[in-house]
Symmetry: C2
Subunit: 365 residues, 2 copies
């Protein structure tokens, strides 16, 4: 007896939409990128690309809109199509940036292996996802832990830990799925530029409702404070004890760093600088999110300098938050607090934050 | 000195598309679901929902298309919008099904806690993502490992292992991100319906090109065989040894199961039934993918029955693969091989496969 159990196509049709007939994005050898989108009846389609001005696309006779960029620096870029005012995911690209307020795609413009976010033939660490009920916040949530290559759960030593926070609208997967934190650390560790460390990436909302569609976000100061304080309390009383029980994670302040981007940068500054018994390295990447210096940092002065191994305050030069960040640095100076000021070319974008992590991690521990 | 570091909205605008103004999907108390999509210039928009016939949506005066379903059984459903022939992700829903051939969304129609895929207040296991270079296949790839609640890496005992495979077009995250395998096992273990076990979920392609857009898939028998054989070889010589080194994973055939859906079902049958020195439980959920019984199972006969604790062959009654699956069962019968036939109401859909896992896991170990 001989027969064929199933024609392959049958299963495919039932399970997924038909394969895309359109290639998008197409990354050319000269690092220009062509984006294509079929929408025969749209009046206007544009490309919204991370860090770039929105650019109109051109329709051809068959209803396919396209645009080819100038040569792009090697990197990962987020983008959407905007068709008659509606932001859409590119149906020809299955790589998406997870986000709680709106999905977008990513396109990879490959570069030399020396770029810290490029996948390389080096030992790889692992990414662990943990699920728990937060009694502090009252929801079911997750956090991610990166363990470095060769991590030994039976080791006597404890590993240093970077607590790393995402931005507003991101979820807990952002630093690995978009920020490539695991790839960056794999590479830095292989090159002996960074020490083997754990990275703990929690969900960064103390008030989860702030990120729901239609929410006013962190505009209201009482909500903002509750968001930061509950996040901190969940971090201190839930995430850190769980991590320190499950992993060989250091409890020594000299072996703990706290950093984050945008809202997560504000969280790192607020939580870290007010808990120097727990942390000795603080990194802020493009901090944002209604930080009130007088109430949130009123204890800061020069007597804390000996406790801080590094206070690293970065922002993109084209970020609309560069002025508030400069003002925050002036505030620190006025209090006699030492810090490292970093200004990176770029806007409020992941291209800056990946570079920030790749520069910050080598300073640690 | 007092100032506000940043208005929240600034950061949000720079980083993400504007928040959606449209609520979609909206799950009503009576379990009907309304889907909405703004596309003012489209001529035709329809809803493509997992397991349902494509249904036309209706346009209102403002250019918003909508449809409300009949009451749906509690479950997770995949869906897309199809606008003028193009499959699109719902821009108002950030929950997507990862897939290598085309993204779709998921909507959750909540049900009672007794449903195995509903999140519940029980101890949770963890999901670990591993990255490695496959010398066998020649690419960089990943696999996922579920560890049950209370998993002890320092335990003397070894845990039983279910090797669980996804379908064609899925990636290695499918069984957790879509199939909710970790949630299902958390619940079954809490209810003492399943034993604490590891689940290993590898990337299921021996020939990764088969899943690339425009590829002919597994239609060509030589490609199909190479795909299955290289996948098996990578499993045996790369994934299993890594897992058994890093985890307390059993190497005893009596403590090993192999199962999968669609293409992964065919892989489970082919690999498992030809390697009864390694596996003693074999599960096939809606197997598909050009399985040639004469060449792939030519060794099978009744003398293998004592080696098989369970050969569990399931398919949805409305699946276009039900006939080939019934024929495969006839083939097994003709060879004197014992098996458990399972027919579940439903088509070639995840609603069937989640139920399959919830039924199969309690039979193991």
């Amino acid at each position: 007896m001989r027969f064929v159990l199933a024609l392959w196509a049958i299963a495919v049709v039932a399970q997924t939409p038909p394969p895309p007939l359109i290639v998008s994005p197409e990354v050319h050898a000269d690092r220009t990128v062509t984006f294509r989108f079929r929408d025969p009846n749209a009046k206007e389609v544009s490309l919204s690309r991370e860090g770039a001005t929105r650019a109109p696309m051109t329709r051809d006779d068959t209803g396919v809109w396209s645009i080819t960029t100038a040569a792009l620096e090697p990197d990962y870029y987020g983008y959407n199509f905007v068709a008659d005012g509606v932001s859409l995911v590119d149906p020809s690209n299955t790589v998406v940036k997870p986000n709680l307020r709106g999905l977008s795609n990513m396109v990879h413009v490959p570069g030399p292996a020396s770029l810290p976010w490029e996948g390389a033939d080096v030992p790889h660490g692992e990414v662990h996802r943990h699920f728990y009920h937060s009694a502090m916040i009252g929801d079911d949530r997750d956090y991610y832990v990166y363990t470095p290559p060769g991590y030994d759960s039976k080791s006597k030593r404890r590993y240093p830990v970077l607590y790393l926070f995402h931005g507003f609208s991101d979820d807990a997967s952002a630093w690995t799925a978009v920020g490539r934190a695991n790839v960056i650390l794999d590479n830095l560790i292989a090159q002996k530029k960074a020490k083997p460390m754990l990275i703990v990436m929690p969900l960064g909302y103390g008030v989860p409702d702030v990120v729901k569609p239609g929410s006013a976000g962190l505009g209201d100061p009482a909500t903002r404070d509750r968001n930061y304080n509950l996040f901190r309390d969940a971090l201190f009383t839930e995430v850190m004890p769980q991590v320190e029980k499950m992993y060989r994670a250091s409890k020594d302040r000299n072996q703990r760093a706290i950093a984050g981007l945008s809202m997560g940068g504000a969280e790192s500054l607020y939580i870290g600088l007010n808990a120097l018994d727990k942390f000795s390295y603080v990194g802020s990447f493009s901090a944002g999110g209604s930080v009130d210096t007088a109430t949130m940092f009123n204890r800061l002065d020069s007597k804390f300098n000996p406790l801080i191994h590094s206070l690293w305050i970065a922002c993109g030069t084209d970020d609309r938050l560069i002025d508030p960040n400069r003002k925050f640095r002036e505030f620190l100076t006025s209090r006699g607090v030492k810090f490292v000021p970093i200004e990176t070319p770029g806007a409020h974008v992941w291209m800056v934050w990946r570079r920030n992590l790749a520069e910050f991690a080598p300073l640690l521990f």
